[in-house]
Subunit: 244 residues, 6 copies
């Protein structure tokens, strides 16, 4: 099968890291293609960046809407997820949802540990819309910017460990969902530190995409994710083309 | 005070109707400016259109981020609301939230009646994120497209009345929130038919913007709606300019 | 328009403060009339006082049930709110609901900070019935009695600031709802201390009453707030008169 | 032990029926005293009547606050329950809470069937504040006024049976809570019709009061139900006396 | 009446303590019979032990399914409760549900304090299924094993007091539900320490069983607790006998 | 990898069907071993059967607790799931949870359609404990017994189609979770009838087990699913052996 991994931001080192994380876990018959949008923010640390990266992701989805058996949106806020599902029949999996669902298979409650503090309300809303609030012990943050993680892996691991311990002892977490695609390379080290499952959404999403593909499950077109109505877009050719 | 009314779609007749609804209720010292984005979908009837219209709205917000005392996003899905709040200190009010909050002042429970059936899951999520689920009796739809409303007002009123009656008798609604800016002109007629408060979000939002302004309340910058982090945007000058 | 502000307790200094808060924010065409019941508790710090003050408020409402365009119940537990809505067609707005709804327009989550510790369960129930729990980060108390606030404004501000900081840092609040009408005069000072919106319900309720009035919204009579059934009251002339 | 049964309304035939229901179930060592307030509405079918009956009940409680081992408020909206608990150390049990808790011992979900349609929102709020919403399948109404029940028992039974059947087949109810003290005399007949537990709150409350008494459980004075603060009441001697 | 008290574990000293707690509170006409299963774990401190003890309890229930007016499952996880209700018409009461419902009659919120830390998620689920989450302030643990309690009563009381104080001051608890049948003998001492109601489920369940019996309430057979379908059990005579 | 599929009931034809469903979807490197307990009920249609089948499943798990990379409990009530997770480090996946999580990847809301009507409350509780209530549109039943399904596939499909249509049109479902392992063979036919994803938990669980295995995720031992405490079991050798 072919999976399109989409890094919604425009930082190439993250695109590369996502690609590596996906390949590391993909099955032998799975082809991974990893891309990033032509435009948009370098990282996603707030609502504005999420909204713009979502649309940049959707522009990319339109162009690539055939030729893949599954799509992964590789940012822990799942930007543009519902809209992307409208565009294709193949499954579209967000890495936040992926990691949360997989965490539920091995833990009574999970916590999400993410980046800058300001992201907490946004992720809390994301958990709510995903219907995952009953299983989510807490959303915590490390205070690190998205692009700071790869600048100092030791510091990132130290902060993740610190927050992870608090999540376990204070909040009742029994697994940790990494709240940023950029944290993926630390999953095994953090697992060793905390002795609980630590889930990188990219890895989870790839294996879930394979799961859907093997069973032949595709996106429901009953209502929420129906193909967009044929519609004129003023001065926005990529989306206007959908109705032609 | 000056209020910027933003119609997130690109249909001029709707922009004009929103302008009229706003002016009809605005106080004598309130100046209404109503605009629409330079690009984007003609109407919003799904997630893709909401995501793209949100970004078109945000582009417009960046350009107009000074000179207004309040902003109103005049589409019943409140597209881009959280991100828009990051861009300015002045209050930014979505017409869905506006109508829901005002409904709570005069009714035990409200129902939302909107357009095409596929919009129901999206509005349900919006109600959830707005924290309004405990007061929302139901989300109902008329099956009408956004732009069909103004093509046949009688039919629109007939369908709204039908769904409104069901909302009252079956779901326990005691007020009706109009689930599309295009339905605004029907508020008083529907009120007469149903004998319950019927709330057009445009009218509600203008009066709530005036309320905030009079009391001097502005958007909290504590966390969720902080100004965006200074950040490079690849090939997207309007947002890239924010960091300069 | 004419708004009747009702202080449900019988302390004149509070009635005067409520009147001043209302006038400070009211528009030029708004006439404020502020009253207090003929009998009842000096302050409201528990369920018994709330129940008795509610009825004293309702007695007053019966006498004044014509001649006003809106009514405000100016106590942060919203005593008698639902019953008062049965008595008139005009909107009846409680200051707790008013401040909570307005907080939702400018903040992701709000906290309520109130008086004596014992009030916390009562306010928690009030938030629940108002359907505001999803947006309420916490209910906190200062330990001050209602009438102690005006005895030492500096101490009151100090305690509000202390609890406000905790609400922001520990609970995720992004706005503060003042949990007692007597705290109203401190709103701007506390705003300056905390750097988040601080909402006095009296001010909010006046502007929301004006908003309802301008848009022509009145209390739904569909079910919860219908006029009382014609009914004999044994030995209670003011309510017995309603059926005559 | 001595139980004070309080009928919050002022209709003697209901007071007598409550007394009979209580005596029918009380143990041999239980003394039942049944009273009604000196003033107040003839029946409770809305918020105004509930608020006034609550205060009339509280006036009565003040006078009788010694000499009883438990108190029962015998109206299905539990008027004044929290305030009454402030006044005494002995348990105070509302018949709605009593029937709901007992229903949970024998049924997965219960429905409440009550009187006039307008009562439904009020009872829904009561269920919410009681924390019983997760076990409550529905609140239904017969359309009968409180005092109409005893005028035509056959019709009342017919309507209760009709709504009970719907509650079981449509809503998933497995027990029925009678939503009016006046329906108590029909409990056994309705049980025979529906073949599920049917709970009259008066009977439930008496046996729960006995249960509390035998185990020595009294009202918590930790916070919500502390004795009222010593406080002046303007022109309301019965409550003013509490502080003397 | 005759109540069968079932200690789901196989430790005789606990069976004896349960018997004493039951007799201490039972009315003069109540006969208490206390038993334990023929096989199974010595104590219940996790899901495996709960599942096995539940079945051992059910085997015992089958043998004793006639001759009693009520059954009590005397373990604070309520093991096998729903299944036991299928086996008899008489009420079956779990001590956790019993204590929680009785706590609601005298306190705004309760906390459960139990044994080993690992039990917390299991009890949290139990509270959720019981629909008691809205009234439950917290689940806390002492870290003591079930059988350690009776080895050092002073230490057990010390730890319960410590956690009880935290429940009251940190979590808003106003009553304490003992989270293990083995803690029952400490109820009065802990009540004296904490000055709030402390509820031993065994005592609560006995008085609630008497309450149900006096009012004539039995288990609903409408759906969840219907008698098991006639069914062959391979190699499990006690359950296979049900279909004969 | 090796997956142990456990049919918790003792009907061989169902064990065989489960085996076939698993093999049909398993990857080339996955070895499927399918077993059933040595004793227990022929089918699971209520709480008693679920409790007994859970323990029979756990007995089997103890014997097989090494040698497998994942375990699947193949009954739509997920009997014994939490306890089974205590017994092994490998993931243990219930087919209900599996199908619900996978449904969330492709649908906004799902409905469960199951067997006899009495199962509905039990499945509702299961959904609640799984934390899946926010995404579950409804639980519906066909009225068919577990073993009746394979007796008349056409009738089973007819009833599933009927309930599936109602779930979609009345409840807002966008995917269907099959509420019985015995319905698995109908998944593709029902998908064709309803035009939405139809999920057989056996297939979902196998692919999710593979997903966990590939990523190296195992059951959290932090709290809820720790290995059982070393403990004597009276007269139950299989569990007693765990402590030796």
């Amino acid at each position: 099968m072919r999976i399109l991994m989409i890094n919604p931001n425009t930082t190439e080192s993250m695109t590369k890291a996502i690609d590596e994380a996906a390949r590391a876990v993909a099955g032998p018959d799975t082809e991974i293609v990893t891309v990033q949008p032509r435009r948009g923010p370098r990282s996603i640390e707030g609502h504005l960046e999420e909204a713009t990266a979502a649309v940049a992701t959707l522009e990319l989805m339109v162009e690539r809407r055939t030729g893949y058996d599954a799509y992964v949106i590789a940012c822990a806020g799942d930007p543009g997820l519902a809209a992307a599902r409208e565009l294709v029949d193949a499954p579209v999996i967000g890495i936040a949802e992926a990691a949360m669902h997989m965490a539920c298979l091995v833990a009574h409650r999970f916590s999400i540990i993410s980046v800058v503090d300001r992201i907490k309300p946004m992720l809390t809303d994301m958990v709510q819309v995903a219907g995952m609030a009953p299983r989510c012990a807490s959303v915590r943050t490390t205070g690190l910017g998205v692009l700071e993680i790869e600048e100092d892996w030791d510091e990132a691991l130290r902060r993740l460990t610190e927050q992870g311990r608090l999540a376990i002892t204070e909040d009742g977490a029994e697994a940790i969902v990494l709240g940023c695609a950029g944290m993926g390379p630390l999953d095994r080290q953090l697992r060793a530190e905390l002795n609980v499952p630590v889930l990188d959404g990219c890895a989870c999403a790839v294996t879930l995409a394979e799961a859907c593909h093997r069973y032949g499950i595709t996106t429901s077109k009953a209502s929420a994710y129906r193909a967009p109505e044929p519609k004129e877009y003023l001065d926005w050719p990529v989306f206007d083309s959908l109705a032609r």
